[in-house]
């Protein structure tokens, strides 16, 4: 094989340990770990932000923090939890599990995968730098125009927000394309789409949603950045711009985003419930179809976030009906999950408890959702704590509980050790009680007229008790997270190793050693049915209840894959360098433009630096061979 000579200034990493090996890694498992660790650290950051908010709201007329700081914190809490916690934590599981569950040795584009992570990391750091560079964004995670314009948000915070989220969007898009191609092209022989694990299905739907939704918010964010940096008027009503345009663009992205956040968790519990019930998933085709329908219908409900904007009765009626319709496939999933447990032998370990907790909490969030799918009742509930309660039941009781279920379930797969079960159960119960104490009373607060996003409230409104309970509950949640951290530390320092397949699980990732070797599968498996691995272990079950025979596959011999040896992509620094270039390039549009001498052109010099770095990274990326010769 001849390689084109490119004057690379750096040689690729050679060692498989140490800091440089992490920076140069293209292994989907290590990238998954990076995503997971980063997202968990941001979970702590977003959590501390929430605790400060709750401390401020614990009592009426409180002036613990200034309204300015309050606004920064609730903006960053929402932004962090959505973009820096739930999305990357889902990406961590996608990275770790999709190749393992479909019997592949890596994702389709390993270096693009590394690029996604580094761009996410740099974008998130850039966003949070705003705290130290003149003030964090303070216009809400939803950034409603025209409050985000220069006139009403004169500092740099909102520019940090717009540019930071643009960078994160690049990371999400790259990852989404990677997962779609991986799932569609790299499944083990015989694994038809309807033989894929539900988690992989939900990852596919999520990735398609990301690929379609991110460009919409990117357009809106770039318009916002232009309004702020170059004084355009997309959203400025004083110059004929339209602030409602922002809302349409934001929610046309924002509602699919809700499903981007919840579908991965739905995929996780669709794996854990059958495993810990010792039964197949009830109605696999219905669960898959319901997920796909949710992903499709999620595009036709965005204006239910805008029922009080004054779009008129026709729009409100249409979006009310479409929103109610989307409750149907969601209900189907819940019924199928309950039916999965029905008649099983439920092993109530921590992962299963979080999965069941997910269902129990998600039902509440779904029901409160139906109540404000109706515009006349939403007119009272919109922008109140009732909405805050609703989406925390869906995204905390739902998404976060689901991610914890996945964490406990896959921990032995990823590390070779089980998380402590006793501490895990404490973690779950403390969390469940804390969660309900925090967000349960918020339903009542909203119905009792307490608006969202208020830095303080007057005495005598009847909100004191519920707020005090909610703040106390938030401390309990924090204690639950602390138990989880202790559990992690104890598990890491313990020497007790887990078996390769400790749960008697159903999917391919459990057919290989835990933790998996770098190449994942010594021999690529062949799949003939859903849950192929389970039936390999239980040959007595090869006839289903209808008497139909279930087939299982034999692993494919390696020589059919060419060469008889396993090909793995070589490590590379270039994704890291390209990400650095992209982030600096975007960050350069901050208010640090220099005027070109003799003209009135404002030149973003830092962007030029970023573009040069990015081009260098791309050149190296292009000309670097996929792997060193003989480096198999």
């Amino acid at each position: 094989m001849t390689t084109i000579a490119f004057p690379t200034l750096i040689s690729r990493p050679t060692s498989y340990t140490g800091l440089w090996s992490w920076i140069g890694t293209v292994d989907h498992k290590r990238i998954g770990t990076l995503y997971g660790v980063t997202a968990f650290l941001y979970f702590l950051v977003g959590g501390v932000e929430a605790l400060i908010l709750r401390a401020q709201l614990a009592q009426a007329e409180s002036d613990l923090i200034s309204p300015e700081l309050f606004n920064e914190l609730f903006t960053m809490h929402g932004t962090t939890m959505v973009f820096l916690v739930v999305m990357p934590m889902s990406a961590a599981f996608f990275n770790w599990m999709i190749p393992l569950m479909i019997g592949a040795r890596d994702v389709a584009f390993p270096r693009l995968n590394a690029f996604s992570y580094w761009t996410f990391l740099f974008g998130s750091i850039f966003l949070n730098l705003s705290f130290f560079l003149g003030g964090a964004p303070d216009a809400g995670w939803f950034g409603y125009a025209n409050l985000t314009g220069n006139t009403y948000s004169p500092g740099d915070g909102v520019t940090f927000w717009a540019l930071g989220l643009t960078t994160l969007g690049v990371a999400s898009l790259a990852a989404a394309f990677n997962f779609v191609v991986t799932i569609l092209n790299m499944r083990a022989p015989g694994m038809g789409l309807m033989k894929m694990p539900v988690f992989v299905w939900m990852s596919l739907v999520t990735s398609i949603l990301i690929a379609l939704a991110m460009p919409i918010i990117a357009v809106a964010l770039i318009q916002l950045a232009l309004d702020r940096v170059w004084d355009t008027n997309f959203f400025n009503p004083a110059a004929g711009g339209d602030p409602v345009l922002w809302q349409h663009l934001f929610w046309l992205f924002g509602h699919p985003e809700v499903y981007i956040l919840i579908l991965p968790a739905m995929g996780i519990v669709s794996e854990t419930l059958p495993v810990f019930s010792k039964k197949p998933l009830f109605g696999y085709p219905a669960v898959v179809l319901a997920g796909a329908i949710i992903g499709f219908m999620g595009w036709f409900v965005w204006s239910h976030h805008m029922f009080t904007v004054g779009l008129g009765p026709a729009a409100n009626a249409a979006f009310a009906v479409s929103t109610m319709l989307i409750a149907v496939p969601t209900g189907v999933k819940i019924f199928n999950w309950i039916a999965t447990t029905w008649g099983g032998k439920l092993q109530l370990n921590t992962s299963m408890l979080f999965s069941l907790g997910f269902i129990a909490m998600f039902i509440i969030g779904g029901l409160s959702g139906v109540s404000h799918a109706s515009p006349p009742t939403d007119a009272q509930q919109q922008d109140t704590y009732y909405i805050v309660a609703h989406f925390h039941y869906v995204l905390f009781g739902g998404a976060i509980f689901g991610l914890f279920a996945g964490g406990y379930y896959w921990w032995p797969k990823m590390t070779g050790k089980k998380l402590g079960e006793a501490l895990g159960q404490w973690h779950f119960w403390v969390m469940l009680v804390g969660f309900n104490l925090t967000f349960g009373p918020m339903h009542w607060l909203g119905l009792n007229g307490m608006p969202r996003r208020i830095a303080t409230y007057a005495d005598g409104m009847g909100w004191e008790m519920s707020n005090a309970i909610a703040s106390a509950g938030s401390m309990l949640i924090a204690f639950g997270v602390l138990l989880f951290i202790i559990n992690i530390i104890r598990t890491i320092s313990s020497t007790q190793e887990s078996e390769d397949d400790p749960w008697d699980a159903r999917t391919l990732e459990w057919s290989i050693p835990s933790p998996p070797p770098a190449y994942n599968f010594a021999r690529i498996p062949q799949v003939k049915s859903l849950d192929d691995f389970w039936y390999t272990k239980h040959p007595d079950l090869l006839h289903d209840e209808r008497g139909e025979e279930i087939e299982v596959g034999e692993p494919v011999e390696n020589d059919t894959h060419g060469g008889g040896s396993i090909h793995l992509p070589g490590m590379s620094y270039y994704p890291f360098i390209t990400s650095l270039g992209v982030t600096i390039g975007v960050a350069g549009f901050m208010d640090i433009l220099v005027e070109v001498p003799g003209t009135n052109i404002q030149f973003p010099w830092l962007s030029a630096v970023g573009i040069v770095i990015g081009l260098w990274g791309l050149m190296g990326w292009t000309f670097e061979p996929v792997s060193e010769e003989g480096g198999h």
């Binding site: 309204p67 606004n71 216009a139 409603y144 025209n146 006139t151 004169p154 009503p237 004083a238 602030p243 409602v244 010792k278 009830f282 009080t308 904007v309 004054g310 009626a317 009310a320 109610m324 409750a327 149907v328 209900g331 189907v332 199928n336 039916a339 029905w342 008649g343 032998k345 109530l348 069941l356 269902i359 129990a360 509440i364 029901l367 409160s368 139906v370 109540s371 109706s374 515009p375 006349p376 009742t377 939403d378 007119a379 009272q380 919109q382 922008d383 006793a422 159960q425 119960w429 009680v433 309900n436 339903h443 009542w444 009792n448 007229g449 307490m450 830095a455 007057a458 409104m461 009847g462």
Partner: protein, 476 residues
């Protein structure tokens, strides 16, 4: 200690915490000021009824589905070390069709009344008498209120008659706000550059709490207001009283306070809209004030945003609250507000804008006198009003135009208020100079003054009004 054994009885017990949330809802206190229950108007009543209808359906679904889940967990949990496999059911098409159709039927039951009410609540019924128009203009972070056709302007406290439909037609001068009086109606966002309408009716007299519901910046939490619904006769009396002159100031504090007010506050706050021309011009005046600052390209963004219009204070003492529905209007609270507005409402614009705060010239004595003055701002009793002779000469009409439009910034003496004093203006130039200075203030700016005068007087006033104004100015 065996944790699993310890926790086992807790499992089922804790799950029963979940129904506590709806139980809290049922045990609500309808009397709370912003409760969406215990409503007193047809719009809010219907919205609450629809919610209760959906709520009970949700409770039924909740009990059934969570019940099934908990039953399954308790009944099918693995006991001991039983390692045998349960029946391997893959699905049941009939069952799955049933639990797809049942939610559809339930949602249809919710969708039908929903759509009907959406259309019912669009606008107001035309068979229930005339509708009262009230104009609302939202500002960061207060509410400008106007009764079109009535020559009445006020702020932050809206009076409406009981039993009559009221249509709020709403604008915003800056960012998006949301108008919400929970006891009377659900909210409606107010989008700058557009008009939003929200009709409602109060069935009972009351002092209803309202609050901005759309995040609108630093002091969003303190952008509150009140709606006072009173019997129609009392409402008409109030409208009439808002057109009567104020009582004569009684205390010396108030008289001194008036002077402080004229020099420091009158540029932004008007107290004279009991006069019809001033009331009619209030909107233009506030817009002009705002435009002047917003379009001043020499100002930085940070400063520009701070320079805005301010609430009307005509007959201020008749109000019950202060600072946009924040605190009761008492001498003590008012003094606290004037002395340190940020302590009451952090982020408010007065602290940054008004010269006495920027220059730190306001003494405790000034504060006391200003409060005394404002608390004496109330209309004379009905019938006792000395009827001011109508402006029937060009001079009188010019004087009235001046009082309503110019006196906030210009004194008729030599002293400087905001703009130059105008005594002896006729000695400073020809009539053409005065006319030009009104129509195009930038043409000649008196040295040491910046051109802060609204540029729209040329189009705002008719030719006759400008002629009359000049007649009056030449008499000074």
């Amino acid at each position: 200690m065996n944790l699993r054994r310890l926790l086992r009885p807790l499992r089922s017990r804790f799950l029963f915490l979940i129904p506590v949330a709806p139980a809290l809802l049922v045990a609500c206190n309808k009397e709370d000021a912003q409760s969406t229950f215990g409503t007193s108007g047809p719009i809010a009543n219907t919205q609450a009824d629809l919610f209760i209808f959906i709520f009970w359906i949700a409770v039924a679904v909740f009990v059934l589905v969570e019940g099934a889940l908990i039953y399954s967990i308790v009944k099918f949990r693995r006991r001991g070390s039983d390692d045998s496999l349960p029946d391997q059911t893959h699905g049941n098409n009939k069952l799955e069709v049933i639990w797809t159709i049942i939610p559809v039927l339930i949602l249809i039951a919710i969708a039908v009344p929903t759509v009907k009410i959406i259309y019912d609540q669009d606008g107001w019924p035309t068979d229930q008498g005339p509708v009262l128009e009230v104009k609302v203009r939202a500002h960061q972070w207060w509410w400008e209120i106007e009764y079109p056709g009535e020559d009445v302007v006020t702020a932050n406290e809206i009076r409406i008659p009981v039993g009559q439909w009221v249509n709020f037609s709403m604008h915003s001068d800056d960012v998006i706000h949301s108008f919400w009086v929970p006891k009377l109606a659900g909210k409606m966002d107010i989008v700058p550059g557009d008009v939003r309408e929200l009709a409602m009716k109060a069935d009972e007299a009351g002092f209803y709490f309202g609050q901005c519901a759309e995040f609108c910046g630093e002091a969003h939490a303190k952008m509150r207001f009140r709606v006072k619904a009173e019997e129609p006769a009392a409402f008409q009396d109030w409208l009439a009283s808002m057109r009567r002159p104020p009582v004569e100031l009684a205390s010396t504090d108030a008289i001194d306070g008036q002077k402080i007010f004229a020099t420091n506050c009158a540029t932004c706050h008007s107290v004279n809209t009991w006069q019809a021309p001033a009331a009619r011009n209030e909107r233009t005046r506030l817009a002009g004030l705002r435009e002047t600052f917003l379009l001043d390209q020499d100002l930085a963004d940070e400063d520009r945003v701070n320079l805005i219009a301010a609430p009307n204070l005509t007959h201020f003492a008749t109000r019950e609250t202060l600072g946009a529905g924040l605190i009761d209007l008492t001498q003590e609270n008012l003094e606290q507000w004037i002395a340190d507005p940020d302590a009451v409402k952090e982020g408010n614009r007065m602290k940054d804008l008004a010269a006495p705060y920027r220059d730190g010239t306001l003494t405790p004595g000034d504060v006391r006198q200003l409060a005394a003055y404002l608390l004496e701002l109330e209309p004379v009793a009905a019938g006792t009003a000395t009827v001011t002779p109508g402006p029937d000469t060009p001079l009188k009409r010019g004087e009235a135009t001046f009082a309503a439009n110019c006196s906030g910034c210009h004194s008729t003496g030599d002293d400087i208020v905001f703009g130059p004093g105008l005594a002896g203006i006729s000695n400073r130039g020809e009539e053409a100079y005065i006319r030009e200075s009104i129509e195009d203030p930038g043409a000649f700016v008196v040295p040491d003054f910046s051109n802060a005068m609204p540029g729209n007087f040329g189009t705002l006033f008719s030719i006759e009004e400008i002629d009359e104004l000049i007649v009056y100015l030449k008499s000074l």
